[in-house]
């Protein structure tokens, strides 16, 4: 039999009917919903008199709009009337269509891409969609998971399928071991720095190699989460014992003998030897250093020892103008070193970096130290479960003692949809995924970094190489 990639195996198992040309109807095993991109999809169903085909494969939770304080107050604690309306609309739609819904003040609440894996909804070989580009996160388990628009969400609600074309695949192999203080976040930023934000457009990325095999699931989720920031349709990693151990016992994963049976099936998902990829890239893990973005695109990134580029050195006028625009927005000068740059705020959280492992890494730097004067620092766990786990380990006490704000779960300062946001001109070291203009609040200036780098910046009051603080 022809050797197949991980992606191709999942595709083949779900492509149920040809639609003409190279388009197929793809069956969707899991559909995740949240409050921002779903209301119009439910309106569409109502207008057409359609039902949700498989409410039991659908899961809804509110995360983007929710304040990260006073969670116990539930819906009533959301003061912004528009945010309140969106969350109330999601609750109403979930009730009307009979969809499982994780209540705001309940034990299963959190960021949809943190909660999905936690529940064991995310499984190897599954197809998973959500009206959010960071759905790629779930590919860390060998699922084919990708972001969709609202019309597509309506399509999945009504049919449990999507018309799709097969993507090309790009193998990114990370050979060797990562150095101390270098994390999955640095790996993905280094990849985006190399291939650009459109580098993987039209492709599904498969990450492989020694550094990936050695990486924990939180790191793998960070890598797959930001595959979209390289333009990829999805990111995937072949499921292995690390993934199986992580999934075992999760409430929606198969249990007991059924789990063993599933694992036998999941082991066969890995790309066959010699399976063809459309592109292959190899990166030396040992050469990756802690990374920090300087501009308003994730590809505008250098190591912490690096400096802001000089637009005058750029030959292409469009590219030169783009760098000039970025520097003006970011308030930076050509040639300025990143290390030492004073910051106003620090955000540890988001679907990229809010899992227990991320919080442990930040706490290890914060322990016994204090946030610099004038810096406000937020730690926002990705879910109620992450929060409980962190508190049982005493991480909340470490953060509070160090002067960090310890919050309830939500998307928080990753995007300006809830009360956590930057003021105009504020500079932030952030563990989130996008440094676009205005992303963290109008006029806010974002430097994307790892959780340990963010914590180090909070303590120092400036961007600093975490390896000097460990």
């Amino acid at each position: 039999m022809t050797p197949r990639t991980l992606y191709r195996k999942v595709w083949d198992a779900h492509a149920i009917a040809p639609l003409g040309g190279d388009e197929w109807l793809l069956y969707i095993d899991r559909h995740l919903l949240y409050e921002v991109t779903s209301p119009q999809a439910f309106d569409g169903l109502r207008e057409a008199g359609r039902r949700v085909r498989r409410p039991d494969l659908t899961f809804a939770v509110a995360d983007h709009n929710v304040p990260t304080e006073n969670r116990a107050g539930g819906l009533a604690a959301i003061r912004d009337p528009q945010s309140h309306l969106q969350v109330a609309t999601l609750e109403r739609n979930a009730a009307e269509f009979g969809l499982p819904y994780a209540a705001l003040a309940g034990p299963r609440h959190g960021i949809v891409h943190v909660v999905g894996p936690e529940l064991g909804l995310t499984l190897p070989g599954a197809t998973i969609v959500c009206g959010d580009s960071h759905t790629s996160t779930h590919g860390a388990f060998g699922a084919l998971a990708f972001g969709i628009g609202t019309s597509e969400a309506e399509h999945v609600l009504a049919t449990q399928t999507l018309p799709q074309r097969r993507s090309k695949t790009m193998l990114i192999r990370i050979d060797g071991r990562l150095g101390a203080g270098v994390t999955a976040k640095d790996v993905i930023l280094a990849i985006i720095g190399r291939i650009g934000t459109a580098g993987a457009t039209g492709h599904v990325i498969e990450y492989a190699g020694e550094a990936i095999s050695a990486m924990d699931m939180a790191g793998r989720m960070t890598l797959c989460n930001m595959a979209i920031e390289a333009g990829a349709r999805a990111g995937m990693i072949a499921p292995d014992d690390t993934a199986f151990a992580w999934l075992e016992g999760r409430p929606c994963a198969p249990q007991g003998e059924a789990f063993a049976h599933a694992v036998a099936h999941w082991r066969a998902l890995a790309s066959d030897p010699g399976a063809p990829h459309d592109r292959e890239i190899t990166i030396d893990a040992a050469a990756i250093a802690p990374m920090v973005t300087w501009g308003t695109s994730p590809e505008a990134v250098v190591t912490i020892a690096g400096a802001v580029p000089d637009p005058a050195a750029e030959a292409d006028p469009a590219r030169r103008a783009q760098i000039e625009r970025m520097l003006a927005y970011m308030g930076l000068a050509p040639g300025q070193p990143l290390a030492g740059l004073a910051i106003d705020a620090v955000f540890v959280g988001s679907c990229t970096n809010s899992r227990i492992e991320d919080l442990r890494a930040a706490a290890a730097i914060a322990r016994g130290r204090h946030v610099a004067d004038g810096v406000r620092a937020l730690v926002v766990p990705g879910s109620a479960a992450v929060k409980r786990q962190a508190e049982s380990e005493g991480l909340d006490r470490i953060f509070r003692a160090a002067g960090f704000d310890w919050r309830d779960a939500g998307c928080s300062m990753c995007l300006g949809l809830n009360p956590d946001r930057l003021a105009s001109g504020e500079r932030c070291a952030s563990t989130s995924n996008r440094n676009f203009e205005g992303r963290q609040g109008p006029g806010g200036r974002t430097h994307l970094v790892s959780p340990a780098m963010a914590a180090a910046a909070a303590i120092a009051g400036r961007l600093v190489d975490v390896r000097e603080m460990a």
Partner: protein, 209 residues
């Protein structure tokens, strides 16, 4: 879905690469439960200053481009978030055709769901069209999906849309109705999974939350 067959109107040039969906429609405008009325938020930070006054230099604030129906821009347009609010905002403003060397995948797919036509053209063609779009007297163009051509001041260009997508745009086809014709295949998959991959068939969520 309303069909896209032929569009005649003013083209506006936006010579910026990697225009992200936050730039097209920022988060502040996502707090809506409707698909309409988003045009006022389109390119908000580019169109308006901090006090809400129009920036007179921005192309969509100047005649004749205030009435733009076509946008000509650079690589990787629509990158970032999957928000369909971005194409909705363009459409609400009046722009239903975007021409660029390349598009981000999700944005590109979202356009077709809303009767909008994204056209990929080589950079050389983009540069020519952009130069014409920058002058009021040559900014008018006709995009004809039926004949796969763009008639502009300097001549006629052809483009090469995906045949399936072209057919559906021309017919204004409802994708969901199309998929529901394959109900037997959907049922077949669900029956197969229920016996061969039971873990996919029943996550048991109803018992959890």
């Amino acid at each position: 879905m309303r069909p896209f067959i032929r569009l005649t109107g003013i083209a506006a040039a936006l010579p910026i690469a990697n225009v992200d969906t936050d730039m097209i429609l920022s988060a502040a405008f996502l707090k809506t439960v409707s698909r309409t009325g988003l045009g006022r938020g389109l390119f908000h930070a580019l169109r308006f200053d901090a006090d809400g006054r129009e920036r007179p230099g921005f192309v969509l604030n100047r005649p004749p481009w205030r009435e733009a129906r076509i946008l000509i821009t650079l690589d990787n347009f629509g990158c970032g978030s999957s928000r369909e609010h971005a194409p909705w905002a363009l459409l609400d403003f009046g722009i239903s055709c975007i021409i660029a060397p390349s598009f981000a995948d999700i944005f590109h797919g979202n356009c077709f769901k809303n009767g909008m036509l994204p056209i990929r053209l080589p950079r050389g063609d983009i540069d020519r069209l952009m130069a014409e779009a920058e002058r009021p007297e040559t900014a008018g163009m006709t995009v004809d999906l039926e004949s796969r051509t763009i008639v502009h001041a300097g001549g006629t260009l052809s483009f090469d849309p995906d045949p399936q997508r072209r057919e559906r745009l021309l017919g204004g086809v409802d994708d969901i109705a199309l998929a529901l014709r394959f109900e037997a295949a959907i049922d077949g998959y669900e029956e197969r999974v229920a016996t061969e991959a039971q873990w996919l068939a029943d996550p048991g969520l109803g018992r959890m939350v």
